[in-house]
């Protein structure tokens, strides 16, 4: 009982024996498989091959192991190994064939499984290779020393080079020379100390252009302790370009911000910005340096403390108005310098408005106008001096009438005093008469005082006062001063003054000077034939201004010259300097009024000027 299935055939291949093991295996009696019937045991697919093999073996009389599937007793085809050996006679002829059948199904299956596994592995490897080669990244692997032992197709395609030019250390030739030192340093460091690496660098492509790549690698140690690095290089050139551009534009922006800040801090003006509700939020260096106050002290509403105390309230009102109306309004104020000196500044502001017209921010500048202010002050002083001189000149021209005017009460006083003394003399004492005389002295003394002070007011060089003044009173004072002069010139004066006071804000002396000038001009232009009339009128005009008119019946001004009379040094008088009306004009304009001349019909000239009316005649 050999544990093998044994058989024998005749020399011509007819089965004539099968051992019991074989018969049991196939589950058939010998008679069913004898002769050529054993072919029925073979798998239909193997039948032709096995038949051919068997005939070849018999023909060549050479043994050969063949494999094929045999149907087992249970109907299952199982792989078996068929071996045979011929038995020769003395002449070397084949007498019989002997053989064994070995069930190799299990082995065969293991082999198949192995083969399948191998195929699957190959397929998987191929697949992986496909994937790796198709990945839109450069894939590589490297040895522990950092040299490359694999690069994928994308790598080759990108570089446009065969693998041998890239592998090992070939890739270094493709790196941008500027990047190599840093990249190699990082690569070597990570190889020694890390299990992953990340770096960035430019790789030259097949087209000769460098593109930026992001390198990411990871160390892998397999079960055998073999170390390899795997990694990918991702093209980030566009990203890098964008980043570089961004960085450049950021740098440019920083640069321009820096420049702007330099400009803002260097321009010889002081700049600031405020929130929509008027709180200070920015203040340039010039301003900080000038006021010498820390920003914390002036931020918000703290900036008022830098103004001159006399200006603070005005500035507050002005700024509140600007913020409320959103309308810029330049304003002048004194600002305290770090050393305590106040200088005049012009403050201007502009709102930045959004689409809805709301204020986003207020921007402004503060410009030092001290020198201009001083020049203006000096000009004003000169004008004031000139006005004073011409006033004195006018008063000088009036000296005779003024002497007369002052002398009248003095005459009365002296006379009354003498009278008083006489009534007190022994012998003719009359106390009542003496008292009457003394009372007259007192009364006339006051009158003299009034006249003297009105003349002094006209003659003195006073600081310009801006005060609420009644134009009626000013007119009456001037007419009082001039009545003697006008009378002596044989001129009739007609006045048309409103019964109630009309107030303006201004300098009474200066306005009286205008009146004095105009009336005197009229007097000089009008003949003293007893027919001459000077009209002085005052009323409230349609624009709610005070309008004063001085009109005469004099020789008049030719219409073509009417506009020239206010020019400096223009005069129709042989002894005039031509400044009188020029000064009148500057005084009236300084008071916010207008002055003009017109020719009367049939003769004479009218001069009119306006002054802004203050209040409702209160």
């Amino acid at each position: 009982m050999i544990p093998a299935m044994a058989w024998s055939t005749t020399a011509d291949g007819m089965l004539d024996f099968a051992n019991q093991h074989f018969l049991d295996y196939v589950g058939l009696p010998l008679s069913d498989i004898a002769g050529e019937n054993f072919y029925r045991l073979f798998h239909p697919e193997d039948l032709e091959r096995l038949g051919t093999e068997w005939r070849n073996i018999m023909t060549s009389r050479t043994a050969k192991e063949v494999e094929g599937r045999l149907r087992r007793a249970d109907g299952e085809f199982r792989w078996c190994s068929l071996r045979q050996k011929p038995r020769h006679d003395s002449e070397g002829k084949v007498v019989r064939w002997y053989g064994v059948v070995l069930d190799i199904e299990d082995r065969k299956q293991a082999e198949d499984a192995l083969k399948e596994t191998k195929a699957a592995l190959a397929a998987s490897e191929h697949n992986l290779r496909l994937i790796i080669d198709s990945l839109p990244v450069l894939v590589w692997s490297a040895r522990p020393d950092g040299s490359a032992d694999f690069v994928n197709k994308s790598w080759l395609d990108y570089a446009g080079l065969p693998p041998e030019r890239i592998l090992d250390w070939g890739f270094l030739d493709l790196y941008h020379p500027d990047d190599i030192p840093e990249m190699v340093e990082i690569w070597k460091r990570d190889l020694e100390n890390s299990d992953h690496t990340q770096l960035k660098g430019r790789i030259r492509g097949g087209d000769g252009k460098y593109r930026w790549f992001y390198f990411s690698g990871r160390k892998l140690t397999d079960a055998n302790g073999v170390v390899r690095w795997f990694g990918v290089n991702i093209d980030i050139d566009n990203l890098q370009c964008a980043e570089n551009a961004l960085r450049k534009s950021e740098a440019a922006l920083r640069e321009s911000e820096h420049k702007l800040s330099l400009i803002i801090n260097t321009i010889p003006a002081m700049a600031w910005s405020c929130t929509p509700d008027g709180q200070l939020e920015y203040w340039n260096k010039n301003l900080i340096d000038f006021v010498g106050l820390p920003f914390e002290e002036i931020v918000g509403l703290g900036f008022y403390r830098m103004f001159h105390p006399d200006d603070v309230e005005r500035m507050r009102l002005s700024w509140d108005e600007v913020v409320a109306t959103k309308q810029p309004k330049p304003v002048d104020a004194r600002i305290r310098r770090f050393d305590g000196e106040y200088r005049w500044f012009n403050l201007r502001q502009n709102p930045l408005l959004d689409a809805q017209g709301e204020v986003v921010r207020w921007y402004g500048v503060v410009v030092d106008i001290e020198d201009r202010k001083r020049a203006e002050e000096s000009l004003r002083q000169s004008q004031s001096d000139l006005a004073h001189v011409t006033r004195l000149t006018t008063i000088g021209e009036l000296a005779v009438s003024i002497a007369h005017e002052v002398n009248q009460p003095l005459m009365a006083i002296v006379t009354n005093a003498g009278t008083c003394v006489r009534w007190l003399q022994p012998g003719q004492t009359d106390l009542e008469q003496a008292r009457f005389a003394a009372e007259r002295v007192v009364r006339d003394g006051h009158r003299a005082g009034d006249i003297v002070s009105s003349i002094r007011a006209m003659a003195q060089r006073s600081q310009v006062r801006m005060e609420r003044t009644d134009i009626n009173q000013a007119l009456r004072d001037v007419l009082f001063l001039l009545q003697g002069e006008l009378q002596s010139r044989g001129l009739q004066t007609v006045t048309d003054l409103p019964p109630d006071p009309h107030y303006f804000i201004g300098d009474p002396t200066q306005v009286q000077q205008v009146l004095l000038n105009l009336i005197m001009n009229s007097a000089e232009a009008t003949s003293s034939d007893g027919e001459g009339i000077i009209y002085v009128g005052c009323s409230q005009n349609a624009n709610s201004e005070i309008e004063i008119t001085v009109s005469d019946t004099g020789k008049g001004i030719p219409p073509e010259l009417v506009d020239r009379v206010f020019d400096a040094f223009y005069t129709t008088k042989s002894d005039g300097i031509g400044m009188g009306l020029t000064i009148c004009c500057s005084i009236v304009e300084a008071h916010g009024g207008r002055i003009w001349a017109a020719t009367n019909q049939p003769r004479g000239t009218s001069f009119s000027f306006t002054l802004p009316l203050q209040g409702n005649n209160r």
Partner: protein, 206 residues
């Protein structure tokens, strides 16, 4: 009778446009017993003037309308000149000369010392009185002269010329006794007591 006496008391007429001055001057003149009358302008004065009123005028040079100086000159030219004291706040030499030429008693500068004014006014009043007297005398001589006959006037002219009766008779071809008779009548009518007096009277005639 009383009116006549009052009329003979001199009146000081003040013409000044300033009421205080008028009042003060009136007070002063009244304190020395003078009658004072005040006017604000020449026009006002003229309207109320009584040329027969004795006294003087205190006149401000500077007046509305006609000035004091012009008025004074006009007065001097008139039949009835008045004694005028001029006062002014501002008096220059030309003005003073002009005033004195026109016969002003004085030209005073305001404010005037009251003593000076009173003295000037007294002089003016005296002057006025004298002139009035002269005027009265002159008027008497004139009316006497008018009462003379033609022959008497002829003889008076010759007497004043210093002729003797004999010479007069020869010139007029009259007898000497006839001349004497006419001469006597003439002297009587003229109320002349001497030839010298007659000569003086004749000066007052045109």
């Amino acid at each position: 009778m009383i009116d006549e006496k009052r009329n003979r008391r001199p009146t000081v007429i003040v013409i000044d446009d300033d009421e205080s001055v008028r009042e003060a001057l009136r007070g002063l003149f009244e304190s020395v017993g003078l009658i004072a009358e005040t006017h604000g302008s020449v026009k006002e004065f003229v309207a109320a003037d009584d040329p027969e009123k004795a006294g003087c005028i205190v006149l401000d040079i500077r007046l509305p309308g006609q000035s004091g100086l012009e008025f004074q000159e006009a007065l001097a030219q008139s039949d009835l000149p008045r004694s005028v004291v001029l006062i002014s706040a501002h008096v220059d030499v030309a003005m003073a000369v002009r005033a004195m030429k026109a016969g002003a008693i004085d030209v005073l500068t305001k404010p005037v010392r009251e003593q000076d004014l009173l003295e000037a006014v007294n002089r003016a009043i005296a002057n006025d009185a004298l002139r009035r007297l002269e005027r009265t005398t002159k008027a008497t001589v004139q009316s006497s002269y008018k009462s003379l006959t033609e022959r008497e006037r002829q003889i008076m002219a010759l007497v004043i010329a210093g002729k003797l009766n004999k010479q007069i008779a020869a010139e007029l071809q009259l007898a000497e006794p006839t001349v004497k008779l006419h001469r006597g009548h003439m002297m009587q009518k003229m109320k002349a007591t001497s030839v010298a007096q007659l000569v003086k009277m004749a000066e007052g005639l045109s």
